[in-house]
């Protein structure tokens, strides 16, 4: 991804590589939020801003042969797993060069060649798919794993219980990553969710862990243990990563919501715990400022290039709406 000679991203678990991945997600989405306001996007976008450490920390352990499935808030997972920023941007623009040829949009960005089963417009929709990919990985016997990213909203879908049960029974190499970002769409999590989500894994006897989802090094460590267990055939893990959705549920929600569902103070408190700021603090003294600046410059170049590519890409031929139904 990087052509900047001065930065070494060869180890995906290195602080610089993690920062690069998180910043890529952040800047791609910040730009997207600006573009959304201009009205140039055909459809809705749900931004991952504030949660970048979760996708980056977990995907750092994964290769193309491992599987992930994601949510309607899926740009971060797509990019963290190695999805192409150009192909994602073009998809959001609905262009023929998009990763799904303009048929999917934001909620369906996927790249199966990179193990990205994709974003999913159904809350909890990716959980069952990941359990199936975990079964495939188990049958293949090559030590691959499958990771389901889902939110605290999806934790209240029955499919999570079903997946934990079958994951425990069959010892599936499955990692169920709940990103508790505080909100189930527009409802504060504690108004719709009883108890602690992480505790829901305990009756099934699967491994469980909670982690500060804004601390990428902490996520990296917890994810490493879960991935290692899964690769060794020791079964399923439930991780609850506590984080915060800094943007709204959907990008233009201010235009249709008549009242606030959270306070400005609460948002400001979490901004102070921004995972990117925390990472810069962590890197101070360990990584040279020149390297950090080089990463920032590299990301600006990638983001500008991605959206330029999208804007200049052609619309799909209308009749291609009838392609790709059956193989």
């Amino acid at each position: 991804m990087s052509n900047a000679d001065s930065i070494d991203l060869s180890d995906p678990k290195s602080p610089l590589a993690l920062f690069h991945r998180m910043l890529l997600i952040r800047r791609m989405e910040q730009r997207l939020a600006e573009i959304q306001k201009t009205g140039s996007l055909p459809g809705p976008v749900h931004l991952y801003i504030g949660q970048e450490a979760v996708a980056a920390g977990i995907c750092a352990h994964l290769s193309d042969s491992d599987w992930i499935a994601s949510t309607h808030r899926g740009h971060g997972h797509f990019l963290a797993k190695g999805g192409d920023p150009r192909a994602m941007a073009a998809e959001l623009y609905g262009r023929s060069t998009g990763i799904c040829k303009g048929k999917g949009g934001s909620m369906h960005v996927a790249d199966f060649s990179k193990g990205i089963i994709g974003a999913n417009g159904i809350v909890g929709g990716g959980i069952g798919l990941t359990a199936g990919a975990a079964l495939a990985a188990q049958l293949d016997g090559k030590g691959d794993v499958a990771v389901a990213f889902y939110g605290d909203g999806a934790a209240n879908q029955g499919v999570l219980s079903e997946a934990m049960n079958i994951g425990a029974l069959w010892k599936l190499p499955l990692i169920l990553v709940c990103e508790n970002n505080g909100f189930s769409e527009f409802s504060p999590s504690d108004t719709v969710t009883a108890g602690a989500i992480v505790d829901r894994g305990k009756p099934y006897g699967i491994a469980t862990a909670t982690v500060d989802g804004n601390d990428v090094m902490a996520v990296l460590e917890v994810a490493g243990q879960a991935v290692e267990r899964a690769r060794k055939g020791e079964g399923t893990t439930l991780i609850e990563a506590r984080t915060y959705r800094l943007h709204g549920h959907v990008e233009y929600e201010d235009t249709f919501l008549s009242e606030k569902y959270r306070s400005d103070e609460e948002v400001e408190e979490w901004k102070a715990r921004d995972p990117l700021i925390q990472m810069e603090q962590f890197m101070a003294g360990k990584v040279s400022p020149e390297q950090i600046e080089a990463v920032k410059a590299d990301i600006e170049r990638i983001v500008a290039d991605a959206y330029e590519f999208a804007e200049n890409s052609p619309w799909p031929e209308p009749a291609t709406a009838l392609d790709d139904i059956f193989a």
């Binding site: 599987w67 499935a69 998009g98 990763i99 799904c100 040829k101 303009g102 048929k103 999917g104 369906h108 996927a110 790249d111 199966f112 060649s113 089963i117 994709g118 999913n120 417009g121 159904i122 929709g125 959980i127 069952g128 798919l129 990941t130 359990a131 199936g132 990919a133 975990a134 079964l135 495939a136 990985a137 049958l139 293949d140 499958a146 029955g158 499919v159 079903e162 997946a163 049960n165 079958i166 029974l169 069959w170 392609d323 790709d324 139904i325 059956f326 193989a327």
Partner: protein, 323 residues
């Protein structure tokens, strides 16, 4: 060639396909003990690498079929009764039917969802639905209904080897219809209707288990001097428009027999196709013989009242052929 009943034939096909390709895997509710006999003995032959009982968890098991298919396997997901599909509907309607399309054709999803459908057994409203109308409207699921053991073998082999999600609807009952089945391997392509009986006065299109009622009706009608052609679409998705339309243009009359509820049934769709494309050739109104818009009742006289049968098909034909 040997005379066999439907369920043993399905059992043989599953074994042959799992033997042929180890990526064909079977999982579902009670597939190890096998409620219907269709999956009997397969666990002993193939073990847990290819055959697994699942919990009664339709939501995750249908999702797993999609995920395993995306990851390179050819899962057969046995959901037991057709009505249980509704519990697993997210993965069927939102994932299996859409994932290839909405990702721009990136993947193939070779899945067979196995469902047992149909009334006549006093199983009540939650174990008797014939679910193809719902599936026909999803835009990405093929739907197979076999009306005899010969077709069941060729269609099920085609379904398992197809690179798309296919729902295989098996008619409920003890062993199903009996018929001659060749020993050798063969497939019946999905989307090709079969003319089960030739005729010239009226076209009767019948779906799945309704074919036997249509054939019985045709025999009776012949005694009354009416020549009925009986067409079995074999798959309602894809639907063989050409065979149906060719016949309707020749006979000028159409009766469609469907065990689904009338509204938005396959009978409705086939009638619309005929009205749209063969209107000038029609000599009489099209008649749909289907189940009224009620859940299947329990008591035998109630069930008999709502289910199509040979007499109802005869009555429909007589209505449009008299004079």
């Amino acid at each position: 060639m040997a005379r066999k009943r439907m369920i043993p034939v399905i059992n043989e096909v599953l074994a042959e396909e799992m033997e042929r390709d180890e990526r064909v895997i079977l999982f579902g509710e009670d597939v190890e003990i096998s409620l219907f006999g269709d999956t009997k003995g397969l666990i002993k032959k193939f073990g847990p690498k290819q055959v697994r009982n699942t919990p009664i968890s339709e939501t995750v098991m249908t999702g797993m079929a999609v995920g395993a298919a995306a990851a390179g396997y050819r899962p057969i997901c046995h959901l037991m009764y057709g009505n249980f599909m509704y519990t697993g509907m997210d993965a069927i309607a939102n994932q299996a039917a859409k994932l290839r399309y909405m990702t721009g054709g990136q993947i193939k999803l070779p899945i067979v969802f196995f469902l047992v459908v149909g009334g006549g057994r006093s199983a009540g409203a939650q174990h008797s639905d014939v679910v193809h109308p719902t599936l026909m409207n999803l835009g990405g699921i093929k739907v197979v209904s076999a009306s005899n053991p010969y077709d069941a073998k060729g269609l099920l082999k085609a379904a398992i080897r197809d690179d798309n999600p296919v729902v295989f609807l098996q008619t409920a009952g003890r062993g199903g219809e009996a018929g001659e089945v060749p020993d050798e391997d063969y497939v019946i392509p999905l989307g090709v209707a079969d003319i089960k009986r030739e005729g010239s006065d009226v076209t009767i299109v019948a779906i799945g288990s309704m074919v036997r009622h249509a054939l019985k009706a045709a025999e009776e009608l012949e005694k009354q001097g009416i020549s009925a052609e009986v067409i079995d679409p074999r798959t309602v998705v894809p639907l063989d428009h050409d065979t149906i339309l060719k016949s309707v243009r020749r006979t000028g009359r159409l009766v469609v027999v469907d065990e689904a509820r009338l509204t938005c049934s396959a009978a409705s769709e086939i009638s619309a196709i005929a009205a749209e494309h063969a209107f000038a050739d029609l000599k009489a109104p099209i008649i749909r013989v289907a189940v009224p818009d009620v859940g299947m009742p329990y008591s035998p006289p109630l069930e008999k009242f709502v289910l199509p049968d040979a007499q109802k098909v005869i009555d429909a034909v007589l209505k449009i052929t008299k004079g």
